[in-house]
Amino acid sequence: MAVQELLNKFHDIAANPGKQMEAYLKAGKRVVLCAPVYTPEEIVHAMGAVPMGAWGADTELQLSKKYFPAFICSIMQSILELGIKGTYDGASAIIIPSLCDSLKCLGENWKYAVPDITFIPMVHPQNRAGEAGRAFTKAGYQRVIKTLEKLFATTYDDAALWGSIRIYNEHNAVMREVSALLAEHPEISACARSDIFKSAMFMLKEEHTALVKDLIEALKRSPAGETKVKVLISGIIADSHSLNSIFDDLGIQIVADDVAAQSRQYRTDAPEAETALDSLVLKFSGMGNCSLLFDVDKKRADLIVKTAQETGARGVIVILTKFCDPEEFDYVIIKSRCEEAGLPVTLVEVDRQMVNYEQARTIIETFKDMI
């Protein structure tokens, strides 16, 4: 398939999660929603269901207001809104981790706001690298497994999990590869780049891997377009079409990202271990460089600088989801670390209800002129 044809496909999937879900349900599949940030999707996959990312949507908030005060981030608000509205109807369950305070509240509210879709909590440890942390992660996974076993009337099979882990590791690898390759292809728009990442949330990973592999092949055959201004973006989500259009209008290319809904998902693979579940535990204990994971050395800021330097990004744009306190705290450190390294950095605040992107455009335009 030609590049454009593939990009159209990614776009179609990214823009129509409802259609995807309907198709899976029609095919007799079960769907389990996965809230941000690190749900053990492999477990859901191994138990025969489709894990679907639930990161909210750019939609007006009405019903969620009954539960959340206005100062909770729009990702949590809109997930709840969609849940109450019935957009997720048909899903068997939702796994909600509690890595930030707002996520904890989403889970608690969910039980009453959307009682028909089972809430499965996933409690991760923050001190995750040591033995005690690993044991606790395992207990958390076992709890998810137990709930799914009951819900689906099936039994968990470690061999099946190995199969899923392989699929996920391969998907991680192709996502890293495509991200690196996209850096060499400025002609691929920021909007298209976003679609490639976003579509992964609404597909079985083996299907997404196949599509991404096709894209990689097609890209390798196609000549690189004209150079644009290279930047690295960082934040929780960056899937807004209006926002990405600004980059495209201004001739800015995203050469790398530190976005929770994008590359942060694909940095860590599940390694070899005695059992598949242990392998998954090791995957989580090896994760880092994220505002939601305890990181006293703020290695995340170093990684941002290093990645920017390696990819030739001339500046860092932090896309801050309004009311996201983990990111708000990290921003101060990222800013000073970038400045230390002589790397220009700017902040654009966004939320999922934003209609007017004029201010964002001005900030990005000024930033482009500066770098």
Binding site: K66, Y67, F68, P69, F71, I72, S98, L99, C100, D101, S102, K104, C105, L106, G107, E108, N109, K111, Y112, A113, P121, V123, H124, P125, Q126, N127, G130, E131, A132, G133, A135, F136, A139, G140, S291, F294, D295, V296, D297, K298, L320, K322, F323, D325, P326, E328, F329, D330, Y331, V332, I333, K335
Partner: protein, 411 residues
């Protein structure tokens, strides 16, 4: 979560609980300062970090949350918040964190000074915001951070897996602190500290339970002041004795029918959330003028750590108010509301505290329904004076008073 406000008036009778409690807070700050001056390593500590650890080791710490509350109550909240904002911190971040991070930069505040730390002790059983706040302190001050992760528990009871996880970190924290300070752990001293902490907690819980009397012998806002001691000195004999004195005073007041609440106590309410420290007088006066006394708060429970052994201690720290699920949080409040005969609930929707406010709507709805009492909320902030409207507060309190009045067959 924890806070303290010291009245500017000179202390009264040295035998009174009030005097003793004030002295404990003063002594607490003085001792940390002196330890620092002696060259000892001192820490900053999260309000619900297991104090048994450093009490046993004989390490002095102070509490940024108490300091932030004191600064806010004495009018410095906005100034410090703005300093943090000029550093790049969003004004949506918890105001305690903003005040503390600003203080760590400017290193002085006439409202409440505190020596700078050589390490920080973090525990996120009250919120995950704490992790980020302490990470940034540790990073910018270039000091170690000891972190006991006590995750929010979505279940009604604490699992064995959680106990094991927390226990291992507890032991690890001891090891790290021994290394940093050179002090040595003593099992015998640990047992002593546990016994004293239990004694203090029991006395604190008993004192707060006097709210159940009609009329209540205490003005509920008193508790907000005394709580600082429950936070910073729980493991000391002086604190145990001061709370025991408080119990005696309340006992006597009940017998005499007197109260520290001045005026008639027409209505009894549960106050939900942290106080609005910058507007304490406004918030209190609006209640007092209508004869409304606060007789119930989950805060009273928050620092009553009762346990029998090490496992029990760990479970107690896993069970603090902000670490528990909606159902357990709800049931505890229902019990308090019923025990104290609360006739209404006034909810502080605290702009600073996402966790406390994030499922409060649903929870207070359920409490109101179960107890058949009205629930009213107002918007505020525990330390940033800009996020509060006196007019809105007045209107809401008035509305609550009217419903409570009507429920009594009045008006």
């Amino acid at each position: 979560m924890a806070e303290e406000v010291k009245p500017a008036r000179p202390p009264a009778d040295p035998n009174s609980a009030k005097y003793k409690l004030e002295q404990i807070v003063r002594k607490h700050y003085r001792e940390v300062q002196e330890a620092k001056e002696r060259g000892e390593k001192i820490g900053w500590c999260a309000s619900n970090f297991p104090q048994e650890i450093f009490q046993t080791l004989g390490i002095k710490v102070c509490y940024p949350e108490n300091q932030a509350a004191a600064i806010a109550a004495r009018g410095g909240g906005q100034r410090l918040c703005e300093i943090a904002e000029s550093e790049g911190y969003s004004n949506d971040i918890c105001a305690y964190a903003r005040i503390s991070l600003a203080y760590s930069k400017v290193k002085e505040a006439p409202e409440q000074d505190m020596p700078l730390p050589d390490f920080v002790l973090c525990c996120n059983n009250i919120c995950n915001c704490m992790i980020k706040w302490y990470e940034n302190l540790a990073k910018t001050l270039n000091i170690p951070m000891i972190f006991i992760d006590i995750p929010f528990n979505p279940d009604y009871t604490v699992s064995d897996a959680q106990v094991e996880y927390v226990k291992a970190q507890f032991l690890d924290a001891i090891r790290q602190l021994e290394e940093i300070t050179g002090k040595k752990w003593s099992e015998e001293r640990f047992r002593e500290v546990m016994a004293i902490s239990n004694r203090t907690s029991r006395a604190w819980l008993e004192a707060t339970s006097y709210c159940r009397y009609k009329p209540s012998p205490l003005n509920g806002f008193d508790l907000l002041n005394h709580m600082a001691v429950a936070v910073c000195a729980r493991g000391t004999v002086e604190a145990a004795e001061a709370f025991e004195t408080l119990v005696e005073e309340y006992k006597k007041a009940v017998a005499e029918g007197s109260s520290t609440f001045r005026g008639e106590q027409k209505h009894r309410i549960m106050f939900e959330g942290i106080a609005c420290w910058p507007h304490l007088r406004t918030t209190f006066t609006a209640l007092k003028n209508r004869g409304i006394n606060m007789v119930a708060t989950i805060y009273a429970d928050a620092f009553g750590f009762i346990y029998d052994d090490f496992d029990g201690l760990i479970r107690a720290y896993c069970n603090v108010p902000n670490a528990i699920n909606l159902e357990l949080a709800r049931d505890r409040r229902i019990k308090i509301a019923k025990d104290t005969g609360a006739e209404g609930i006034l909810v502080h929707v605290n702009r600073s505290c996402k966790l406390w406010s994030g499922f409060m709507n649903e929870m207070s709805r359920q409490i109101g329904e179960t107890c058949e009492i009205p629930v009213t909320s107002f918007d505020g902030d525990q330390a940033d004076p800009r996020n509060f409207s006196a007019a809105q507060y007045e209107t809401r309190v008035q509305a609550l008073a009217e419903i409570m009045e009507a429920n009594k067959g009045g008006i």
